[in-house]
């Protein structure tokens, strides 16, 4: 049996899937991928179920090595440099690592999370139907914690299937849409206007539990304590100091701060990918519009298998081929995958 060994990895990287549902009534949060579309795309590339467990990779670089056989992987999510033995790997494609080969990933550029799916999916012991890591609750499989160098993920032997890319629609770049409530009446008109009209940034202290927002102070009408009630992914609670926090996959299942609004499901993945420090805005939409968008999002997920394309379809581009050869790396005239010039740091590592 093949395995994928973690050679190097940064913080905020863990095995995640579609999440652990049904036990929120016991205080157990669902966890699961921060960007569901990217998880689904990575899995689709290697023929897995869309919400099978894959590696969620945080903003830093990582490297993975195939051992005891070949491993086929699919990569989606935040753009970042990726190469295997001098071959560049593009985001939204599949690629095979033969025994001993290492996939090196750079920092996320313009996003936060990437997903690396393994053909045949990650194996482990599900709890409440999920392998998703929730370190606080000691849950997740094969390791109930973020991944560390040396960890081994068992994999099916990679098949000789043709490599593919997946054509995703261009990501929307408008404001992050939200539905007001459930406790928007805890805020006056002025505070609500300030919340909706201001530019926000995500604080670097954010994590899978919540994204802290930097911007103006949002004042409560009646103080910041409410009787704790249930939360959802995307709940925007306003804490005592007037700073909004958007609750994410590892949120507490209940919370005692008023929640002014909720990010719509269709925009949650896009929101999760906003890098710390980049300015963005919110926009309130109607419930009807939010529900139309969540249905559209579900429809998009269903079309993913139809969006796969063989990678070999290429137009012979002599100029690009020559450019690639100038860098001194061996490239194949019939395999466009090898045409990209390896980045300097990739060459230095080898």
């Amino acid at each position: 049996m093949s395995k994928l060994v973690v050679s190097t990895i940064g913080p905020a990287s863990s095995v995640q899937d579609g999440g652990r549902h049904g036990a929120q009534r016991y205080g157990l949060t669902p966890s699961g991928a921060m960007d569901r579309l990217a998880l689904a795309a990575a899995n689709c590339l290697v023929g897995n179920e869309l919400f099978a467990a894959a590696i969620e990779i945080g903003p830093f670089g990582a490297a993975f090595t195939a051992r005891e056989g070949a491993v086929r992987v699919g990569l989606a999510g935040a753009p970042r440099s990726a190469e295997i033995s001098g071959r560049a790997m593009a985001t939204d494609t599949s690629m095979i690592l033969v025994d001993g080969e290492t996939l090196r990933l750079g920092f996320a550029r313009g996003g936060s999370f990437s997903y690396l799916a393994i053909e045949g999916a990650i194996e482990g012991e599900p709890m409440f139907g999920s392998l998703a890591v929730n370190a606080r609750a000691g849950l997740g499989s094969p390791y109930p914690r973020p991944l560390q160098a040396g960890d081994e993920l068992h994999a099916k032997a990679g098949s000789g299937a043709a490599e593919r890319r997946i054509d995703l629609p261009p990501p929307a770049d408008g404001p992050i849409r939200l539905v007001m409530g459930p406790q928007d009446d805890e805020f006056g008109g002025e505070a609500t206007k300030l919340f909706l009209d201001s530019e926000w940034k995500i604080s670097p202290t954010s994590d899978r539990m919540g994204y802290r927002l930097e911007g103006p102070v949002i004042k409560h009408l009646h103080g910041h304590n409410i009787v704790s009630d249930g939360t959802v992914n995307g709940s925007i609670q306003v804490s005592g100091n007037g700073a909004p926090i958007v609750l994410m996959s590892d949120r507490g299942t209940s919370g005692g701060y008023p929640k002014i609004a909720t990010v719509i499901s269709a925009d949650l993945g896009r929101f999760a990918q906003i890098p710390a420090g980049r300015a963005f805005r919110f926009k309130a939409v109607s419930m009807a519009e939010a529900q139309a968008e969540v249905r559209k999002f579900a429809a998009l997920l269903r079309t993913l298998p139809d969006r796969l394309r063989p990678i070999e379809n290429f137009d012979l581009n002599i100029e690009a081929l020559q450019d690639a050869n100038v860098a001194g790396a061996a490239v194949s005239a019939v395999d466009a995958r090898t045409w990209q010039i390896p980045s300097a740091d990739a060459l230095a590592k080898d």
Binding site: H21, G22, A23, Q24, R25, Y26, G27, L28, M127, R136, A137, G138, L139, V179, M180, G181, P182, Q183, I226, V227, S228, D229, G230, T231, V232, N233, G234, S235, G252, T253, S254, G255, K259, T262, V263, I264, S265, A266, M287, A290, Q291, E293, V294, R295, A298
Partner: protein, 243 residues
């Protein structure tokens, strides 16, 4: 004829969940209605509802908007919530052993001082209580209990502690609670129990259910240590008194 129950407030929690709110305050009657609606939805499932989360004064209902939309679900929930609350015939009752005070309950002395009495008296009042699990939330197994005697109601600490021990038994506001995992808390720590309300690889993984009745019994540190070892090995160590 029973009087018609007041209509709950329906609050949108995004596009895939709705909060059915019976009160804005901590209110045992509202909690009864929350738990009744929760039981109704378990007994008569509404197509599209995926998960329910009872809290003190509201029920959070997660749903799949591809199967049912907000308006249709809200209407259905309002109508189910106005049914008379049926009497609960079978309530599970647990007795949970607690070692009070000292290193296990570092706030017991201060609570006694604030309330102008002795630590033993605080323990006696806390042990005499007949509690209900009003909700479980925040972190796995954290059980919020209603029924705390009025004389023990006190505001939470000015500054929450960032780390309090697993198994902590504490009071805060009008509630008392059983905390399972180590974590932050702004409540007053009276003692600890060896009982794990959440434990993987044990059947059941979660011990308490919203609606369960709970009483406490005082044990000494030696018994606590023994029970803690047994609990670690997977024993339940709480007594199921009824039914």
């Amino acid at each position: 004829m029973a009087a018609t129950l007041s209509s709950p407030r329906i609050l949108p929690s995004g596009d895939s969940a709705v909060t059915v709110e019976f009160s804005r305050k901590i209110d045992d009657a509202a909690n009864q209605r929350v738990l009744a609606l929760d039981r109704t939805l378990a007994r008569e499932p509404v197509s599209g509802v995926t998960e329910t989360v009872p809290t003190y004064r509201s029920l959070l209902v997660h749903y799949d908007p591809e199967q049912i939309d907000f308006d249709a679900l809200s209407e259905k929930l309002v109508s189910l919530a106005q049914r008379p609350v049926p009497p609960v015939t079978k309530t599970r009752r647990w007795r949970i052993p607690v070692v009070y005070g000292g290193e296990h309950g570092i706030d017991l002395e201060d609570v006694a001082k604030t309330l102008n009495t002795t630590p033993d008296d605080i323990v006696a009042r806390h042990v005499a209580g007949d509690y209900r699990v009003a909700m479980i939330g925040f972190t796995p197994g954290w059980s919020y209990l209603s029924g705390l005697e009025k004389s023990l109601h006190m505001p939470r600490r000015q500054s929450p502690r960032l780390l309090t021990p697993a198994g902590t038994i504490s009071i805060g506001g009008v509630q008392t609670g059983v905390q399972c995992l180590a974590g932050p808390s702004g409540w007053h720590l009276l003692g600890r129990t060896a009982v794990r309300t959440y434990q993987l690889h044990r059947d059941p993984i979660f011990l308490l259910e919203p609606g369960d009745a709970v009483t406490f019994s005082a044990v000494d540190a030696k018994i606590f240590a023994e029970q803690d070892r047994a609990a670690e090995a997977g024993e339940i160590v709480a007594d199921l008194i009824a039914p």
